[in-house]
């Protein structure tokens, strides 16, 4: 006879599983209960605390539609809202609009010309007035007002018949199909009609000194040359804000910016970030979180393709082969950045990872030049058909890391019979006509190609964008390839992301083959913030780290 075992538990297998589940959950929660409360990760019920963000330039343009630089975005993203926003994955999300229009949901007509935007009905300006479709119409029309010192007008200038259908619906017709416009709208912040329509000169409006938006933070005060203070908009329709005050502090010197991060005067380093040479030290600081986040810019050597020495593709290939990029990255940039073969940011949906990798080989470089008929002269410098393989290289004076790269390249190129002279200029001079009108032989520059994550690079690589030849854009290297032109035109007319992906993957292939510029590395930004500042999200598709201050909060 078998007695029931005393050892048998009264628990069923299901009970055991349940216990295990509880135990597991307890295992996850317990440490939090002991050390820090489980609710520490969640934001506070009402906005509390202050965050000081360090910027290397001073934000001075507060009307987001006026010509401005990226540093002003730190304020625009917090005080204003756009119809859509771009999330860290590069996907457009509704902001003031209730949905992102597409051909699928009927927001954009099949021919891509008729657009309809539906808006939220619960948004108010900081002064309490309701936000309506009238504000959208006013904003879009102001941008193309010839008297207004607008920022970019491309895309906006294609709009016709902007119609307010109802307070929550606006429609317009596009003069021609322009798919990137959706992304452009993600950086077009809405301004209040009821305030600006009264101004005789929209450029000189009081609004420009004390802006009124719909964003998560309201304008409080500015101490010129020092900082701007914003306060929480407790009526905000979206997520947050969880902090009471957001301070944008201006610290012009990079070393001083870093010092103030170390001393604790600033809580988060934004624009300019932490320089690569401080990364190792910064990552060991206690009480600070330092992380590497991919950026959107690519550092390259730009070749002016109208110069006879660069017209020969063999020269461009040989120069590329003669660059020890790994050594530059490790030796000069402390291994912070990443190698790349293309202009497209590596976290972009449109990034082509299958491009041939550059191989550093001086022998290969010499061989390419030999085969192409570039013969060393009596001075050791190669020449062909009376053209010496000699050129100057320019970059912004005072950028010591770039200057080291130049010296390194100068030596490398000399070894393959190429002469490179260095002639640097102050930034304010470099980026003027010298750069825009292609007055350089070659230049080192970090360039962002995409605008608000849209892969359209017409402005940079289309033949029609060569300013030196009367074009409109910033194709300063004077690159021209009919196949790329055709692909870019097609890409700008295509709304379907998959179809666009195929187009831009091909563009990258051709550009990698043509080498109009020689990529050195893709920028990785060194972000630093105080421990306990939660809710911070890096987003390479925007130009500022504080693009989403609404979601920040201090760990309680």
């Amino acid at each position: 006879m078998t007695e029931r075992s005393n050892t048998k538990s009264n628990y069923s297998r299901r009970d055991a599983l349940r216990l295990m589940a509880i135990g597991g959950a307890a295992g996850l929660i317990a440490p939090n209960l002991l050390g820090k409360p489980a609710f520490a990760q969640s934001p506070p019920a009402s906005p509390t605390g202050r965050v000081v963000v360090g910027l290397s330039q001073e934000p001075t343009v507060f009307n987001p539609l006026m010509a401005h630089t990226e540093v002003d975005d730190a304020l625009h993203f917090s005080v204003f809202d756009a119809l859509f926003r771009i999330d860290p994955k590069g996907v457009l999300q509704p902001n003031l609009a209730v949905e992102v229009p597409s051909q699928k949901n009927g927001g954009i007509s099949k021919d891509g010309l008729q657009w309809r935007i539906r808006l939220r009905d619960d948004v108010r300006w900081h002064d309490g007035e309701p936000f309506t479709a009238e504000d959208v119409k006013f904003t879009l029309e102001l941008i193309t007002n010839p008297k207004f010192r607008a920022w970019r007008t491309s895309g906006h200038s294609l709009l016709r018949d902007i119609t307010v259908v109802s307070p929550t619906e606006v429609t317009w017709r596009m003069e021609s199909i322009f798919a990137p416009y959706l992304s452009f709208l993600a950086e077009t912040f809405m301004v209040p009609k009821h305030i600006l329509e009264k101004e005789a000169d929209p450029n000189a409006a009081a609004f420009s000194q004390a802006p009124v938006g719909t964003g998560a933070f309201k304008w409080a005060q500015r101490i010129a040359g020092d900082h701007i203070e914003l306060v929480a908009n407790t009526e905000y329709f979206g997520e947050g804000p969880y902090i009471e005050r957001l301070v944008l502090k201006y610290i012009p010197d990079m070393t001083v910016l870093y010092t103030q991060f170390v001393s604790g005067d600033i809580d988060l380093v934004d624009q300019a970030y932490i320089t690569a040479d401080h990364y190792q030290e910064a990552s060991k600081l206690s009480g600070r979180v330092v992380s590497l986040e991919p950026g959107a810019s690519v550092e390259s050597i730009y070749l002016n393709l109208e110069k006879p020495q660069f017209k020969d593709p063999a020269v461009r290939q040989a120069l590329y082969a003669a660059i020890d990029r790994q050594a530059i990255l490790e030796g000069i940039y402390y291994g912070v950045h990443a190698l790349t073969e293309t202009f497209m940011p590596q976290n972009s949906y449109y990034y082509n990872p299958n491009l041939p990798a550059q191989e550093y080989s001086l022998d290969r470089a010499r061989q390419i030049l030999d085969e192409a008929g570039w013969v060393p002269g009596s001075d050791g410098i190669r020449a062909k058909d009376g053209v010496r393989l000699s050129f100057s290289n320019a970059t912004t004076a005072g950028n010591n890391l770039r200057e080291q790269v130049q010296q390194f390249l100068q030596q490398s190129f000399a070894e393959i019979g190429v002469e490179m002279t260095i002639s640097n200029l102050p930034g304010a001079v470099m980026w003027g006509d010298f750069w825009l009108k292609s007055q350089f032989d070659s230049a080192i520059s970090g360039v962002t190609y995409v605008i608000a994550a849209d892969p359209d690079v017409t402005n940079r690589l289309h033949t029609s964008a060569i300013v030196a030849k009367g074009g409109k854009g910033s194709n300063t290297g004077q690159y021209s390839n009919p196949e790329v032109d055709a692909l870019l035109e097609k890409g700008a007319r295509t709304f379907d992301p998959e179809a666009r992906r195929a187009i831009y993957l091909r563009v990258q292939e051709i550009v990698r083959q043509d080498l109009p510029f020689l990529p050195l590395f893709a920028y990785t930004n060194v972000f630093g913030r105080k421990e306990g500042l939660e809710g911070f999200k890096p987003n390479a598709n925007t130009r500022v780290a504080s693009w989403h201050a609404a979601g920040w909060h201090w760990k309680s």
């Binding site: 001075t60 920022w151 012009p252 825009l436 854009g473």
Partner: protein, 316 residues
């Protein structure tokens, strides 16, 4: 006196005119210009840049731009900042307090300490103190201010934690004590060079006076050394210092430039640097004119002060 003043004022106007023409031309000759900041922005097309150029009036001939600017200036309109969109005088006004605070405190330190070192060095010539003063002054003059600034921050802020690493005050705490706490390090660093200058000038001026007959007479009369020093030497030695102080007035603008950058001080020196970087012509021209006026005023005040104090100096 009146004709002297009128004469000086008319000369000053001519000087201002020359400064403005040279400043305007040189500034506009620098390639790049205010729109260069958009050169790397892929969204700005040349058409956008041309439009902005026209809106800012930068496409007109230079002489036309100058005349327009000068005419407005005469009417009291110093123009509008390209970068800020605010009137130039407002922009300057927003930064002047910070600079005055820093320059004021450092000048007080520099004059007090420099004068003391100079007089003591002269009265104790070739003593250890005198040698230390001389060497110290050489060091202070030959090492750049930013180095002192960075060392000061490293030692007193990062290592010892006694003083703030920068800024004019802690955001959220606008108390006088907080301002003073933040003022200590930058004003001492900025004062270092001026202490050196003052001490050297004061030393030689005192030595000059000490060797004068009237000091010997005073001594022969049996006056105490202390009385001689206070009554006869210091007063006379300070006279040339007034001219020096007048000449240092324009350094209100430029002298604090480096210190303001290192200590994140929102003053005029940094405004000048920033405005140059952005080619913000109206503000740079405004600061230039402001500086020129200060130089002229400084010299004028010094001359008048010297004349009033010392009747031996004739103003004819």
């Amino acid at each position: 006196m009146r004709s002297f003043l009128l004469n000086r004022l008319s000369q000053s106007l001519v000087l201002l005119l020359i400064v403005s023409v040279i400043g305007f031309v040189v500034l506009n000759l620098i390639p790049g210009g205010p729109l260069a900041q958009f050169g790397l922005d892929p969204s700005m097309t040349q058409a956008d840049l041309d439009r902005l150029k026209e809106q800012l009036g930068l496409n007109r001939p230079l002489w036309m731009q100058y005349l327009d600017w000068a005419w407005r200036l005469v009417q009291g309109d110093w123009g509008t900042s390209f970068r800020d969109g605010a009137p130039v005088l407002d922009v300057i006004g927003r930064h002047i307090f910070a600079t005055l605070l820093l320059m004021g405190s450092s000048t007080v330190i520099a004059i007090a300490v420099g004068t003391w070192i100079g007089i003591r060095g002269a009265t104790h010539r070739y003593s250890v103190f005198d040698y230390l003063g001389t060497v110290g002054a050489m060091v202070a003059l030959s090492i750049p201010t930013f180095w002192f600034g960075l060392v000061g921050i490293y030692v007193f802020s990062l290592q010892l934690g006694w003083l703030p690493a920068g800024n004019m005050y802690t955001i959220g705490d606008g108390s006088a004590l907080n301002y003073i706490h933040h003022l200590i390090l930058p004003s001492i660093v900025l004062a270092l060079v001026h202490v050196a200058i003052w001490s050297r000038y004061m030393r030689s001026a005192t030595l000059d006076v000490i060797s004068q007959e009237f000091v010997k007479t005073a001594r022969a009369k049996g006056l105490s050394e202390r009385r001689i020093l206070m009554k006869h030497v210091v007063g006379n030695a300070l006279l040339p210092m007034i001219t020096l102080a007048g000449m240092q007035l324009p350094s209100i603008l430029t002298g604090a430039l480096v210190t303001e950058t290192v200590f994140t001080w929102p003053g005029m020196g940094r405004l000048f640097l920033d405005s140059l970087g952005y080619s913000d012509y109206p503000v740079v021209m405004g600061l230039l004119m402001f500086s020129a006026i200060l130089v002229i005023l400084g010299n004028l005040i010094a001359d008048v002060a010297v004349a009033l104090i010392d009747p031996r100096i004739r103003l004819s």
